[in-house]
Subunit: 182 residues, 2 copies
DNA sequence: AACTGACATTCCAAAACTGACATGTCGAAA
DNA sequence: TTTCGACATGTCAGTTTTGGAATGTCAGTT
């Protein structure tokens, strides 16, 4: 009788950290900055979460403190066990596909507002989507993409953002026309 | 000096329940079914969460138990205070725009897998998107849409799902071509 | 020499969420 | 009449997530 491994949900932060450490060792502070920039729109994480998870990761041997720097800085390096765990997560576990969208949830209830207010909400959505799209486009132009792994998959992820925000903007503008005037 | 109202994050479940009760009174069991069907892809919630929140909502006077049915069934009705709170949330608070996507997070780290595995992941993503799109399209055809609020905004939300899954499928197929062979 | 801002970590309270477990009722079919 | 599935709610321990407080170091400027 095989013992099925219990499904641990929400292990994503853990694996995000392992994934970032694949490229090169980094401190909690370094990782925090990565989370607040490139991963901000994919998997936001706070400082307390990151430092806490790093400690757990070190306890379970998936990373090690490979160096100590100036201000109590601890540099973490991925171990073989950590890389194996990351591969296992990517190749052998199913992603959580459902995401919650507060933006969309609100749409369901727009009927309790006046049509003016509802259109205002949808317009503001379109505006935010346009702005985000522009930011991503600027980022796309600023980065010089070569063909290493980081570049290939970074570009793929960015393209997702571009397509997503474009879709959102078009949808919000269409939706606005569906709300009857006054 | 104006005292800024503290930002209360994650009040969404609360407002989702209020929103559903706008249409007609319902029991926890009824709401649970709604969450596992029409809201499943927008704001998933578990039974314990729903019953717990309903009790809190009743305690704070945003809903009342308007009827008791057969099996201890309690029917909740929205109060004026509840409707006011819902309108406040919709019209005067900013939605949390960032969502986390485990699917996209994994894309960032696909470089640690073989190109075959990476392409497999993207193919599976495209397949899921296609399947979900078909489900939503079937749902769209099955419902008869009149022009009340529920229909207008329900259709808008469904259209979002349709566009989103279409975009995801196209993106995943494009992404697959970007991963170099072997 | 004092100041400032970026660097860097630890700890904590509270809220939200998950995944059970526990309990029981009612209607219909076998 | 027993059984079964749908109805219906309550509770709880454990984990995740949030948001912030507390603490301190180092480098460069004033």
């Amino acid at each position: 009788m095989s013992r099925v491994e219990g499904k641990l949900p929400g292990m994503s932060l853990r694996h995000a950290l392992l994934g970032l450490l694949v490229e090169h060792p980094a401190s909690g502070y370094d990782l925090l900055k990565t989370f607040s920039t490139s991963l901000a729109n994919v998997w936001p994480a706070t400082q307390s979460q990151i430092y806490g998870e790093l400690t757990k990761l070190a306890d379970s041997g998936l990373v090690v403190v490979s160096d100590q720097g100036p201000r109590g800085r601890k540099e973490y390096t991925l171990t073989d066990a950590g890389l194996a765990e990351l591969r296992h997560w990517l190749a052998e576990t199913e992603p959580q596909r459902s995401t919650r969208s507060e933006v969309l949830l609100r749409v369901f209830f727009l009927g309790v507002l006046t049509p003016e207010q509802a259109r205002g909400y949808l317009e503001s959505l379109a505006g935010h989507a346009t702005a985000t799209h522009a930011e991503l486009a600027a980022l796309h132009d600023a980065v010089d993409w070569d063909d290493d792994n980081l570049s290939v998959y970074g570009r793929i992820a960015l393209e997702y953002g571009l397509r997503f925000t474009a879709m959102q903007q078009e949808w919000a503008e269409w939706a606005r026309t569906q709300v009857r005037t006054s």
